[in-house]
């Protein structure tokens, strides 16, 4: 049964903040982002949160909803409000900037550290690379390239929680899509970057990333692929 109004606990302040409760009227097809927006526009304009597209493309509105990381623009209140209550906090495993805004710098720095940049091997003078759509490599890349960088997998990952230097599922998923990119020339440095302690070998295959990914991707599969790809590499003993 629908409870109206909705009782919403929202994280306020930085890491040492606290939850503040608001009452928000229920609406049909209301999303968690709608609830947060209502609070900011009608109840407390100082509430800080982040969003852009509202349609599940940009990856900026992820928050912790009732203890679970979710994309709030595509999460209906009906689905998560138990007994007419919702608790909304910033994403876990990232420093809190303020209220519902998490600092994603480290999260994206790790994409760079995992060599998530495309390294071209051709110039504009070359012909287009021909990549067969049904080749195994192209299919592997396809399985991972729809990542929107929302940070939900990173917030859900227990290994990130206990090992802060771990690159995390999103960065490793990105690396795996590039490992399968026939046009890329940065493979050796990439495999070196994603192997070992901070990389794919720290993954315990708990699969929280895969369970929570709003796009239905499987970073776990990508990480398993990286483990296979690095198995045959003779690494330089760099520190």
């Amino acid at each position: 049964m629908e409870v109206n109004p909705l009782e919403v606990s929202v994280w306020r302040g930085g890491a040492d903040g606290r939850f503040e409760t608001f009452e928000v009227p229920r609406r049909a097809s209301q999303t968690v982002l709608d609830v947060v927006t209502y609070i900011q526009r009608h109840l407390d304009p100082t509430l800080a949160y982040r969003f852009a597209c509202r349609v599940g493309m940009c990856g900026s509105c992820a928050m912790t909803v009732n203890g679970t990381p979710r994309w709030t623009c595509r999460t209906h209140v009906d689905k998560v409000a138990k007994g007419g209550r919702v608790t909304i906090g910033p994403l876990a495993n990232m420093p809190v900037v303020r209220d519902l805004v998490a600092d994603m710098r480290e999260f994206f720095d790790k994409w760079a550290r995992a060599r998530g940049q495309f390294k071209p091997t051709a110039t504009r003078e070359n012909a287009f690379a021909r990549v067969k759509p049904d080749s195994p490599e192209r299919r592997e890349a396809d399985a991972g390239i729809e990542c929107i960088g929302c940070g939900v997998c990173y917030a859900a990952c227990d290994v990130v929680a206990w090992k802060p230097e771990y690159l995390g599922p999103a960065a490793l998923n990105r690396a795996w899509t590039l490992v399968n990119d026939a046009r890329d020339g940065g493979q050796s440095a990439r495999l070196q970057a994603v192997a070992g302690d901070a990389g794919c070998h720290s993954c315990h295959t708990l699969m929280s990333c895969t369970k929570h990914c709003p796009k239905g991707l499987s970073p776990t599969r990508a990480i398993a692929g990286l483990k296979r790809a690095t198995a045959g590499v003779d690494f330089e003993d760099a520190p």
Partner: protein, 113 residues
């Protein structure tokens, strides 16, 4: 340990896991088969004493378990106890040797006539 070392440990742990999967299946099947006629020490020893095949099988089982388990203990020591890598590595070696000695001693006890 270097990246190369870490990757090698991972491969060794994977390989021993494959061996263990087979060993555990054979071991469990043997248990289920063996207890059908009642379980006694004499009955077990009559099967294993002097058997080169069972001796080899359980020796492989012990070696795989010692290697696989000690690599896992090293990771647990680092992640849960916050142990520094060199110390976790030493502990891994001690655990592996202890498991090998006790395990192989047990194999000898049931195989050597």
């Amino acid at each position: 340990m270097s990246t190369r070392g870490e990757v090698r440990l991972w491969i060794v742990q994977r390989a021993t896991a494959a061996v263990l999967a087979l060993c555990v299946v054979v071991h469990l099947a043997t248990i289920i088969y063996a207890v059908r006629g009642g379980l006694t020490a004499a009955e077990i020893l009559s099967r294993t004493r002097g058997s080169v095949a069972w001796g080899a099988f359980y020796a492989v089982f012990v070696i795989a378990a010692a290697v696989h388990g000690s690599i896992g203990l090293r990771t647990i020591c680092m992640e849960w106890l916050g142990l520094a890598k060199p110390w976790a590595g030493r502990l891994m070696a001690v655990a592996a040797i202890a498991m090998l000695l006790t395990g192989l001693r047990a194999v000898c006890a049931v195989v050597v006539p």
